[in-house]
């Protein structure tokens, strides 16, 4: 790639963030630091978190909770979606329940989890799974339903075993939607996790945010928030990389929409 093109691309990606940063920095000139701290202070707090193991552990704890919750919801959701795609009865039974769950706020799950369960990690896992489960299930179900009937019939005409159908037809055809589902749910999960950590966690980003609130440390609150944002950005980037490699078979139109 020629240098100028690369620079242009970096500039375009960075532009919105630079703009936000500049706006914040200008605000920090007019307001006291406990409302709008200077970004320099925020930067040093970020660095402090990342370089001190005692604080980094909190970030890693929260990241593991997000990933564990998503993995749990995905496994359960995919299994339910498969059952729903295969049987109308199962679909008719589970769909209304999942839709009902979708309307329950994350905070309500927090309350239920505190009342029902004891272990803190289990409470968090329970909340993470239940808040992301409906979306995962409906997304996988949609992908299964959207499998081209033509291609399915072609594959079935070779009379494959169940395992072969899954490996040859189902998996490759729903993979794009699964990656998209992960991207969407990752954002949701990172927003829910800090709420879930209110169940009494003594570590994690949510716990740290609460500490910063108690001492009115806005720079700290921002720095901890940014850890989660960075994590989401990094995982999104990895998923996008996987997409470009795994879906290179797709025809690309030279004219965009």
């Amino acid at each position: 790639m020629p240098g100028a093109v690369l620079l242009g691309r970096i500039a375009r990606t960075a532009a919105p963030f630079v703009l936000m940063a500049v706006a914040w920095q200008i605000a920090s000139l007019f307001f006291p630091p406990y409302l709008f701290p200077s970004l320099v202070a925020v930067f040093w707090r970020c660095l402090e978190i990342l370089t001190h193991w005692s604080q980094l552990v909190d970030v890693l704890a929260t990241v593991s909770r997000i990933l564990a919750g998503l993995a749990g919801a995905f496994v359960i959701g995919a299994a339910m979606a498969l059952a729903m795609a295969r049987s109308k009865a199962v679909d008719g039974f589970l769909s209304p329940i999942l839709t009902f769950f979708q309307g329950i706020p994350a905070l309500s799950w927090v309350v239920f989890a505190i009342i029902w369960f004891h272990g803190i990690e289990f409470r968090i896992f329970f909340i993470m799974v239940l808040t992301t489960l409906p979306a995962f299930t409906f997304q996988v179900l949609g992908a299964l339903r959207a499998m081209p009937k033509d291609l399915v019939e072609m594959v079935m005409s070779f009379r494959p075993s169940r395992a072969k159908i899954f490996r040859v037809m189902v998996l490759p055809s729903i993979l794009p939607e699964i990656l998209t589902a992960w991207k969407v749910n990752l954002g949701n999960a990172s927003r829910v996790v800090v709420v879930a950590e209110l169940v009494g966690a003594t570590g994690g980003v949510g716990y740290q945010l609460l500490q910063q609130q108690q001492i009115f440390d806005m720079a700290g609150a921002l720095a901890w928030t940014l850890q989660l944002v960075f994590f989401v950005l990094i995982v999104q980037y990895v998923l996008t990389l996987i997409e470009t490699v795994a879906f290179r078979y797709r025809a690309v139109s030279e004219r965009s929409l």
Partner: protein, 264 residues
Amino acid sequence: MNAMDATLSTPANAAGPAEIRFENVTKTFGRMGGGDLFKAVDDLNLEIRPGELVAILGKTGCGKSTMFNMIAGLLEPSQGKVEVSGHNPFTEFNWFRGKIAIVFQNDRLLPWRTAIQNVELGLEMLEVPKAERHATAQRWLTQLGLGGHENDYPHALSGGMRQRVSIARAFATNAGILLCDEPFSALDEMTGNRLRAEFANLVRENGKTAVFITHSINEALQIGDRIVVLRRPAKIAYDVKLPRNADKAVQEEIRLKIQAVLSE
């Protein structure tokens, strides 16, 4: 085949066991929004012997694909019986593995697989070892003039090339029965003609029992050893064997007869 099949055969067909048999087959579809049923195939009787290349000819919408899908085991008859090699293609799912190969009207290539991976598909279902299935797929791609395109994805191939890949995919499993549903109708005339000739040779060289669906009289005359003309809903209107290397006059006579039947 067994004695029961012999008793079921009509005397005129008693010469050999049928490979594909329709016995009083009716297929109805429920219409959207309920109401009366729509009859696509009506009390069809048909026997196809091993090694025959039968062209099934009929106007569009007369139930050719419906009949085809019943042989392929993708649809179940509403009444009557469809038998292929003495078995039920709809219920005996596993028995038919590797025994029937299909060329569809559109190529139906898996977009996430390269040309050669698409050809290997049927061999994977048969658990053929990797090296062997790769070699077989390579041989069929070369035979169909696609050497050099093994690693192309379908979107990078032309319509004719894609249909060639799908023919290679059907032949690669070496199934005894080959079913084709208007495989060349979406291609331009020149490509279609060339592929038709190659295709008929391949079927005969490999001694397959083949059912070839078409709506074109020319195509039926060019490909079939036997032509079965259907009226709507699918029922036999005319059934004729084509003498091998029939001369122009005989062909013309059959053509006129088919035209008369089709315009009834």
